[in-house]
């Protein structure tokens, strides 16, 4: 038990802070701990969580990806074209088409990283610009409204009407998010492929000598990220019922900050799905709480940025160690 606590320090610390926030908000505001609020929290953060678990896999494998949010937009745009060609399609074809395009975009990153040994941040900043520029050029920046009917139909996984008439529901995106989170957990925690990803991110040379297939690991990491970007793109289209080419750009940085806050290590080998989810939810609950407490929406980002800054400034401080040292000094 003691070891478990030591190994999961970041997650436990973040979990405690999050729990304290939830308790505080539940006491401080009547509307926080309501079904309505909690479901909308999940609905609003499903896309971020899908991206987050994808990016987590890349970080664990020692890479970084800046291009995923743009990739989601590209997937949306291309998938709509493809679906039109094949006469509309349905959810199954939609998921397959988006998944395949997403994986292909991820593998483009992987190709340059693996084949030419270019660092992933350089490659993905380049593809970020290339994908976005091409997308805006060919879409002329115009929104697409006439999506297939099945895609714009609201799919509700769960709904509930309270006695006072407030309506709570969970959208399809939440379902997709849960599947993605669980699948990612299974992949990285419960399969030999995932453990090889950790090893590769931890010590690439050691992994190579042990016989780990480096190309396959890069392909798995960036392919998984691509798959998640594809699914996120599809779900986002379902939520907003249109495709806006520049709607998602700019969100990549917020997702990255949340994951690293959750204990993933820039440089590879470390990070958990739990920490990743906690990181995203920390940001989400902060924003939600500020909203409920009546803080001006214009102040949200400032406070969140400040909170992250404080969190990282204190994250390297080992409170137990600090205490011990004070005791020693007192002796």
């Amino acid at each position: 038990m003691h070891n478990l606590l030591n190994n999961r320090k970041t997650e436990i610390r973040l979990g405690i802070v999050l729990l304290a926030m939830i308790v505080g908000l539940s006491l401080g505001s009547d509307s926080f701990f309501t079904l309505n609020n909690l479901t909308s929290l999940l609905n609003n953060n499903a896309i971020n969580l899908i991206w987050a678990v994808g990016l987590l896999v890349v970080l664990i494998a020692g890479g970084i990806d800046i291009s995923f949010a743009v990739a989601s937009s590209v997937v949306q745009y291309l998938a709509v074209q493809v679906l039109r060609q094949i006469g509309g399609g349905d959810w199954v074809t939609g998921i397959v088409v988006c998944g395949v395009i997403g994986i292909a975009l991820g593998l483009v990153n992987m190709f340059f990283i693996y084949r030419f040994r270019i660092v992933s941040i350089v490659v993905t900043i380049a593809t970020y610009n290339a994908y976005f520029g091409l997308l805006m050029f060919f879409s002329k920046g115009r929104n697409i409204y006439n999506l297939p009917d099945w895609l714009t139909d609201r799919v509700v996984m769960f709904e509930y009407e309270a006695a006072d008439g407030t309506w709570s529901e969970l959208t399809l995106a939440v379902g997709a998010m849960v599947v993605c989170v669980v699948a990612t957990w299974l992949l990285i925690q419960r399969t030999n492929l995932g453990r090889q990803l950790y090893a590769f991110g931890d010590n690439p040379e050691g992994a190579r000598r042990a016989g780990v297939n480096v190309a396959a690991m890069q392909a798995l990491a960036f392919g998984w990220m691509g798959l998640m970007a594809g699914i996120a793109g599809l779900m986002q289209a379902n939520i907003v019922k249109e495709v806006v080419p520049n709607a998602l750009i700019g969100r990549e940085m917020d997702v990255l900050a949340a994951i690293v806050l959750g204990g993933a290590r820039l440089g590879g080998g470390k990070g958990t799905v739990l920490g990743c989810v906690l990181g995203v939810m920390f940001v989400a609950v902060t924003q939600n709480g500020l909203n409920l407490l009546g803080v001006s929406p214009f102040a949200f980002k400032m406070i969140i940025g400040g909170a992250i800054l404080v969190a990282i400034s204190t994250s390297n401080i080992d409170f137990a160690d600090l205490f011990r040292r004070r005791q020693e000094a007192a002796k």
Binding site: R195, N203, K270
Partner: protein
């Protein structure tokens, strides 16, 4: 010997040759390891040791091989995984383990390699890891990350991992380089246990003393050729050193009395809680003071306090009679101290930077013009003068430092510190990773520096090194100075006896 058991071979190689782009790395080399034998492969850097290991484990293919047999079976060609499946494992010096993963996963990692998706069963893993650790007689916590273990324990994890693959022939590359003596003894015990189990172990080591202690035979390579195979029972350290370098090694005590010279440093009752206690000594101008102690005796910690990296908890220091209490490394340098770190690769030098910048890094203020900008002309002149003075073999000063050999890199470290015109030079294990041949060159420089009046504190855990290069010897153990010796009234075995016992 006609005993059937000793005549069974784990490995037989005959006439192995390998060239890299015209460079002959191995030339017609034979190498044999008996089953269950502890064998030593000795040679300087560049003698072909690692090339040979890489051929045996399938990383390289030999150009020519008259005979290649593993456990009595002829080998045509072999891949790294093929070698592992045949029971050959290598424990590299960097261990090739995964620091953020748990001990259990590190031990069982090779089971997980491959692209066929498989579930991971942590309980099963625990059982296997525990069984193999039991065989080694070392209990370890299985679910803590590897980075929480000491280097010595990580070594055990690496051995356990090799045994998980049913290894019957294990190569250990410099296994004791960063182990303390008791840790080394523990490792050697484990190696004996393995050998008794029928596992053959090949040691690749610079440290001649322990090699002779554990191995039954030694194969010596030099410049890619086989020098010979010898029984360790009839071998001495000096003889082995000569075989490796091809030069006669002259070791003689050079100690002189320097206690009349002015004191450069006085240390009284210096302590740092938990690290060392009540350390007192004087160091005179022109004197080489040897400080011998095992890893963990507090010697590096003492050096860190002298250099201002950590504050002492008690005691006084004086430099040339003035109170000395450095607040930082920079402060210590300003007051005339210099420190050659034991970890040259990651602390002594900046491997990504050119030779010239590594040489001037500590004396930037000397390169300033009136503006105040750095003068490249002054830099070039400074670098040239030190390279000439210390006889460093370099290509161009703008080449990366990593292009130099270990000995020449260490000379650049010396140049960097000498450029600060120190009064006191602290050398912390200055010959780690330096070839025996090049060591003499470094100590020649040290000697001439002392002759010119520099006070030198030579920290080491090698008895020969301290014995033949110091004027006086302090013995540090468990955080305290326990004795002072005169090298002229002592022999190496006596010193070893006191320090290692």
């Amino acid at each position: 010997m006609t005993d059937a058991n000793t005549e069974r071979f784990a490995l037989r190689l005959k006439g192995i040759s390998k060239t890299f782009g015209g460079l002959q790395a191995l030339d017609d080399v034979d190498f044999e390891v008996r089953a269950g034998e502890v064998h030593c492969l000795a040679g300087e850097n560049g003698s072909g040791k690692s090339t040979l290991i890489k051929i045996i484990t399938g990383v390289y293919q030999p150009q020519k091989a008259e005979l290649f047999e593993l456990f009595g079976e002829a080998v045509r060609s072999i891949s790294p995984t093929g070698a592992r499946n045949r029971g050959v494992s290598v424990i590299w010096q960097d261990l090739a383990l995964f620091s953020h993963m748990s001990v259990r996963e590190n031990i069982c990692f090779d089971d997980m390699v491959g692209l066929t998706p498989k579930g991971v069963h942590y309980g099963e893993m625990d059982r296997k890891a525990r069984a193999v650790l039991e065989r080694l007689g070392v209990p370890l916590e299985l679910d803590i990350p590897l980075e929480a273990l000491s280097i010595a324990r990580r070594q055990i994890v690496a051995i356990a991992r090799a045994l998980m693959n049913d290894a019957r022939l294990i190569f250990m590359d410099e296994p004791t380089a960063s182990l303390s003596r008791s840790e080394t003894d523990h490792l050697l015990d484990i190696v004996r246990k393995l050998s008794a189990d029928g596992v053959a172990v090949v040691f690749v080591s610079h440290r001649l003393a322990e090699v002779l202690e554990i191995a039954s035979r030694v194969t010596v390579l030099r410049d890619g050729r086989l020098v010979g195979v010898y029984d360790c029972a009839d071998m001495t350290q000096v003889r082995l050193g000569e075989l490796m370098t091809g030069q006669l090694i002259e070791n003689k005590v050079v100690a002189r009395d320097r206690v009349d010279a002015p004191k450069v440093m006085e240390v009284r009752g210096l302590s740092r809680a938990g690290e060392f206690e009540n350390v007192s000594f004087d160091l005179h101008a022109g004197e080489v003071l040897g400080l011998i102690g095992l890893i963990g005796a507090g010697r590096t910690e003492l050096a860190h306090v002298l250099m201002g990296m950590r504050a002492p908890t008690a005691g006084d220091m004086r430099v040339e009679g003035r109170p000395f209490r450095p607040s930082s490394i920079r402060d210590a340098i300003r007051q005339g101290l210099a420190y050659v770190s034991e970890d040259r690769l990651s602390l002594g030098l900046l491997q990504k930077q050119p030779i010239e910048d590594n040489t001037v890094i500590s004396v930037l203020h000397k390169l300033l013009t009136r503006l105040p900008l750095l003068s490249m002309r002054k830099r070039d002149a400074l670098v040239r003068s030190w390279v000439d003075k210390l006889g460093v073999k370099i290509g161009r000063p703008s080449d990366l430092i990593s292009t130099l050999s270990g000995g020449n890199q260490q000379k650049i470290v010396l140049a960097k510190w000498l450029a600060t015109e120190p009064k006191l030079l602290i050398l912390d294990s200055p010959t780690v990773g330096v070839d025996i041949g090049a060591r003499a060159g470094i100590f020649r420089i040290v000697r001439s520096l002392a002759d010119s009046g520099l006070a030198i504190l030579l920290i080491s855990d090698e008895a020969t090194e301290v014995m033949f290069n110091s004027d006086r010897i302090l013995h540090m153990a468990e955080g305290q100075i326990v004795a002072e010796y005169d090298p002229r009234k002592m022999t190496v075995p006596e010193l070893e006896e006191r320090v290692y016992a």
